[in-house]
């Protein structure tokens, strides 16, 4: 990591940790999660809640914490922008980016690099 990136991380990390309890995955999708950090989900889900969410809206794994995705859904309903981003299929995490600056990755486009074999399937109506 170069000096500029280290300095950016030094600003980004405490700021985003304080506001969003950010986990510095380096490929931010807060816009498609109602500004709720999905990496706080213990299953690392990037595309919505698992089937184990408790009836009171708390997490299957941590019964005394709200499910990250319940919060994401509720907050996304209140956002003026990006509401329909909850419906996007988010690609697999690039674990090499963990701990790097998502701001720099956004500017350089690194966070938008997809594995070469990642493509939406053709939809097939059956009826």
């Amino acid at each position: 990591m170069g000096v500029i990136e280290r300095m950016t991380v030094a600003v980004e990390k405490p700021l985003k940790e304080a506001i969003w309890d950010c986990r510095m995955c380096g490929q931010c999708i807060l816009h498609s999660t109602g500004l709720t950090c999905p990496m706080r989900c213990p299953k690392n889900l990037r595309n919505g809640p698992c089937g184990g969410v408790r009836a009171n809206g708390n997490c299957e794994v941590f019964p005394d914490r709200p499910c990250v995705w319940v919060q994401a859904w509720e907050r996304s309903r209140k956002l003026p922008l990006f509401r329909d981003h909850m419906h996007h299929v988010n690609p697999p995490v690039d674990w090499r980016l963990k701990g790097t600056s998502s701001w720099i990755n956004l500017v350089t486009g690194r966070d938008h690099k997809r594995p070469a074999g990642w493509a939406a399937p053709e939809s097939s109506a059956h009826a």
């Binding site: 690392n44 595309n47 089937g51 969410v53 408790r54 859904w73 909850m86 074999g117 053709e122 059956h126």
Partner: protein, 317 residues
């Protein structure tokens, strides 16, 4: 029409399908699998082989599924993102196809903290939606996630799960939509006890135009005892068991509770069958194959169509 599996063929032919679950096996003997599955022969169209269900270790779903293929019973192999990274998941999908497994059901999996090795490291490299898309890319484009080409693509019918009963309720139909977009061709739901909620969910699924794009199979649990229903309500993540079901089980003496549970399950089968867009039922009697048989009988689901009705590609079961 040629389809990847018999299950797919029946669904495409508009038949109401019946599936069930192989009770998990803690043994290294093939007979342990065969003993448990034999009562289901001719009673269901395909049998789910679970993948360390409830985050408890059992015989691998891949091996169990292959043992079913050997005996001419069609498996649905479950695969959870919890225990494997993207390399291992893709490797198992290819291996399964090579061993004649033609239906796969992809999911995140119950967390290890719910199981018998709570201290284990869970993987969750990719999520269930991403896994769906990876499986479809393997099959449809003949490439790994890396983009590298396969020698020949695997053939399978791709399924997913959804829980209409867990919060955030309004998002659940959209989550199903996302799964369809990622490549799910059939869905098995969480156990349906709460019919009102299930109706509402299916109404939204229909509004989203998904009924033309995915087959929905409703899971029906067969309560065996009042204690069991209590356990499901309290211990199984994401499962909602209404109080009137529990009260009904409690209202009869223990010896008659299994019969009452079968009656409840039959009523549920009949109820979901009348909901638009429900293409079949998945009967779950935990370590209770006889319960599955009696519900299938009682709900008029027998006999099942014979295998020759559908042509499959790739030489599967």
């Amino acid at each position: 029409m040629r389809t990847p599996s018999r299950l797919a063929g029946l669904l495409h032919a508009g038949r109401f399908v019946v599936t069930a679950e192989l009770s998990s096996v803690d043994s290294g003997e093939p007979e342990a699998v065969w003993r448990r599955v034999e009562p289901l022969r001719g009673v269901v169209d395909a049998v789910n082989c679970t993948d360390n269900t409830g985050a408890h270790v059992h015989m691998s779903s891949l091996a169990a599924a292959h043992l079913l293929v050997e005996k001419g019973i069609e498996p649905i192999m479950q695969l959870a993102a919890r225990d494997r990274n993207r390399l291992a998941l893709q490797a198992d999908l290819l291996g399964a196809a090579a061993l004649g497994v033609r239906n796969i059901l992809l999911m995140s999996g119950d967390d290890v903290t719910a199981g018998d090795h709570p201290e284990a490291r869970s993987i969750y490299d990719i999520d269930s939606l991403q896994l769906l898309q990876v499986a479809r890319n393997l099959r449809d484009r003949g490439t790994y996630l890396s983009g590298r080409r396969l020698e020949s693509p695997p053939v399978f019918f791709v399924g997913a799960v959804e829980n209409p009963f867990a919060p955030p309720l309004d998002f659940r139909p959209f989550r199903l939509q996302k799964k369809v977009e990622a490549g799910a061709e059939f869905i098995q739901t969480q156990l349906v006890f709460d019919l009102a909620r299930f109706h509402a969910f299916m109404g939204r699924v229909e509004d989203l135009g998904l009924l033309e794009r995915v087959f929905v199979i409703a899971s029906i649990g067969i309560p065996r005892s009042a204690r069991g229903t209590h356990f499901m309500k309290e211990k199984v993540p994401g499962l909602s068991v209404p109080d009137d079901v529990i009260r009904r089980m409690e209202s009869v003496p223990p010896l008659q509770q299994p019969a009452e549970g079968i009656r409840i399950a039959i009523e549920l089968v009949e109820a979901v069958r009348s909901i638009r867009g429900i293409s079949g039922v998945h009967l779950i009697g935990i370590k209770w194959e006889e319960g599955v048989v009696r519900v299938a009988q009682g709900a008029g689901l027998l006999p099942r169509p014979v295998a020759e009705v559908v042509a499959t590609v790739g030489g599967g079961a």
